[in-house]
């Protein structure tokens, strides 16, 4: 795409703000799935989007903010055959400054946690992370074909 096409480089979309708490994330997901662009997705793409968004947002709640709390901003835009997503928070940085590897779980261990980043990595594409001026920013593309 042309580099001077500002709209393509930063597609128009919708942004949400929510408190960094699990109940606020649930309410936020409810709100965003009732409105475009998420409301227009196929049932399969919608399910995939909800899994990834819930995991990313709840990871911020549990690990970036913990008990401290704070605000999460999430922006969504249809872009390049997918749904471009971007979260921002002012919580703790990612360990070692990078996204967790999401090692595939061993079912035999019957662990009660550690599935979140594996699910994110299985379903999202083009995952990116940056921390600038105390703001964590996670970006990813969700497929629209499921």
């Amino acid at each position: 795409m042309p580099a001077d096409d500002g709209r393509a480089a930063r597609p128009a979309g919708v942004c949400y703000s929510m408190d960094g708490r699990a109940d606020a994330v649930r309410d936020g997901l409810h709100r965003m799935f009732d409105a475009p662009p998420l409301s227009g997705l196929s049932a399969t793409a919608r399910g995939t989007a909800e899994i990834v968004l819930a995991e990313v947002l709840n990871n911020i709640v549990e690990h970036a903010y913990g008990d401290a709390g704070g605000t999460i901003r999430l922006c969504l835009a249809l872009h390049d055959g997918g749904l471009l997503c971007r979260t921002e928070d002012r919580g703790m940085p990612m360990p070692q400054g990078r996204l967790p590897p999401g090692i595939p779980p061993d079912p035999a261990l019957t662990a009660e946690g550690g599935y979140g980043w594996h699910l994110i990595r299985m379903l999202a594409r083009n995952l990116g992370y940056s921390r600038v001026a105390g703001v964590n920013c996670i970006t990813f593309l969700l497929p629209l074909d499921g």
Binding site: D23, I51, N58, P105, T110, E112, L123
Partner: protein, 112 residues
Amino acid sequence: MALKSEIRGDVLVIRAEQARIDAAGAISFKEAMRDVAAVPAPRVILDLSQVTFLDSSGLGAVVAVMKHLAPARRLELAGLTPTVEKVFRLTRMDSVFTIHPSLDQGLGHAGG
């Protein structure tokens, strides 16, 4: 956390009556499950047909309940909706649980 339970023959059937088992509700789900599963019955089937969304916290809670019942009893699942089924499949936890397409099929099943 809305759970409804009944004894059907030798099976304790527990129906989750909420649409989500997620990070905001995983702990209360786990606690409520432990309470209703205290009823003695050789088999326990959790009917998830009304649950449209389950995240990794919800999955962890279901695994915790399974471990709580073991080794005397095995937790079986029934009626996974598409997004819930996807979470079990992608984490390969579908290989750990006995999963019935529906509660009726689970009740007709010999168990285990």
